[in-house]
Symmetry: none
Subunit: 192 residues, 4 copies
Amino acid sequence: MSSSTTQRRRGDTRQRIQDVALELFVEQGYEKTSLREIAERLEVTKAALYYHFKTKEDIIVSVFEDLTRPIDELIAWAEAQPPTLETKREVLRRYSESMGAGASLFRFMQENQATMRELTIGETMKDWMSQLVELLRTQDGPLTDQVRCVSALFTLHAGMMYLQHVDGDPEETRLAALEVATDLITQAHHAA
Amino acid sequence: MSSSTTQRRRGDTRQRIQDVALELFVEQGYEKTSLREIAERLEVTKAALYYHFKTKEDIIVSVFEDLTRPIDELIAWAEAQPPTLETKREVLRRYSESMGAGASLFRFMQENQATMRELTIGETMKDWMSQLVELLRTQDGPLTDQVRCVSALFTLHAGMMYLQHVDGDPEETRLAALEVATDLITQAHHAA
Amino acid sequence: MSSSTTQRRRGDTRQRIQDVALELFVEQGYEKTSLREIAERLEVTKAALYYHFKTKEDIIVSVFEDLTRPIDELIAWAEAQPPTLETKREVLRRYSESMGAGASLFRFMQENQATMRELTIGETMKDWMSQLVELLRTQDGPLTDQVRCVSALFTLHAGMMYLQHVDGDPEETRLAALEVATDLITQAHHAA
Amino acid sequence: MSSSTTQRRRGDTRQRIQDVALELFVEQGYEKTSLREIAERLEVTKAALYYHFKTKEDIIVSVFEDLTRPIDELIAWAEAQPPTLETKREVLRRYSESMGAGASLFRFMQENQATMRELTIGETMKDWMSQLVELLRTQDGPLTDQVRCVSALFTLHAGMMYLQHVDGDPEETRLAALEVATDLITQAHHAA
DNA sequence: GATGAATGAGAGTTCATTCAT
DNA sequence: AATGAATGAACTCTCATTCAT
């Protein structure tokens, strides 16, 4: 009995809401996903969502808080390191890994930037994009090298979003993207 | 009298709707922009919008049709050329230029991908992304080189979106991005 | 040239509006038919309709005026006759004939009574129904006979509306309905 | 306190919507009745209607489902009987009775046929009209007799709709109509 | 004899949110 | 921990109608 679906669901409703919400947000975008839809898919009422979360925005904020912790930690760690090339490589390596884990969250971010901007988390996200760029870029180097640093970041994103279905193995693709990104950052570093 | 605001506006309402709509869509996203808002900013009624466009989607579709023509032409041209490195460089050069012109449209596309996917134009857009990648990528080369081609495209986008406010002169930034992109494609080409 | 479609249409726009309007009103009902639809089918603008008719209601009123004249005349004629059985038979005969001619109008009336009631013509129509009943019914006869008179009228209607597609020849059906109606009225008459 | 208006209304809102809706639909027709009107008369918001019914059409469908059950049962019963004259008489008798009960629904049907046709229930209704005719009519008899069967049905309708205000007692009128209808069917039966 | 452009009113519908139970 | 019932605000869209040209 304790393993019946109903039983297993006891107590983890909050988690299930987050899961289903992210799923739908990724599928359809934030605004086009209604609380009714989320509730229906969970077979609970809308009011139940409000027991667990104060607002719709709260749901997505909570998902972000859980899934972006690795990035926050990465940034914190990197800021404590000396700005060597090796550090930068490690940043890319770990960032790429995080993306593998929270892939759908990243996809959501990528595809819903307009929405994010209005949400409080928008700032958060923009913040770490800037911080990451700051960590990677060769200060005071030529403009092209600064572009390379940003491009390295975007290459990782592109690797996740646009190359996944093109080729076979997702992991292989991720590694290829990481290699290209590392390459870019290395070029930028040597030029300086 | 013939130069009064009302007079000057005669006959260009359709154009003005497109302009204001794009402006707001870029600012706030497609779904968060209501027809009421557009109408109010134009000082006409909602019904007037419906005189000129059949639906809300129609408005954005028409804006796209006007502003993406350069890209369509670019693709058509490139497909008729031999797939040399020089052709590829020219593609990037012209693509970068188009983005300078229709900058806000590109920003809209970038930031509203989730929305676009549901819209009919979503397909169109995805189509030309694929076609561009196809034109640029070194067929049958190593995976990393394929990544480089996609990355080149994304570098141009990144140059437009994320580096504009960072540095001073937008045009200079655009050119730097173009240089990096060209670099990437050249590497990919030589390796093959 | 004078026989080109455009040429032939000159001057009979008013008539064409009436035709198309009736056609659509019958097909879809009065409220569900919009002036846009009528205009589109005629390949003119809505404003053109307003050149010929003051309001939407005006269109249908004008159609009625044209097509119900035979009925008005029938009533006028009947009122001048002695109320013999033969007169009554003649009334049914001519009413049945009118229905054959203005069939679609009758169908419209039958199917849009709720609408008619709000329209000014609603009264008109109700009026002649009462007048016809008055002409047919055997005053002061038993209730059943009064029912028979109304029923005779309805039989004609039923013959037009519900039996048309059931059997082959519409004309044959009409005549059968007329026969039954005449029968009913005869019974009612003899009883008195 | 527990008998205050607000209290009493708890839980029967759905029913109240159906009642008020039918009332207004009968009064004004389906299309001319807006949800705003229904809501206002109930002193709730439009949104409350949508809590109980998915669409406007849904409201009327639900009313139909409730009120046409007697007819469905009548048809089912009749189909199980031998097609004797006595059965047919019983069908008319019970049909006439049903009409007394759901009188307003019948009036609505009669006066909004154009609307019904577009609604899903239109088919339902047409179906039972055909089934009733099928049950009553003397197969392979002369055309006039078939007309008589349909006419019998219409006589009942006419008795309800057009004779109610003419004479005093509605019940008396209904019985008179039933008598005439039975007469018609008997004639048709004997001829065969 | 007709059009192009617009309006005001209102339709049906959906949303995030609330609150007593 | 969750529901049933409801709200208010907003939405996209359609309609009959007007009027200068």
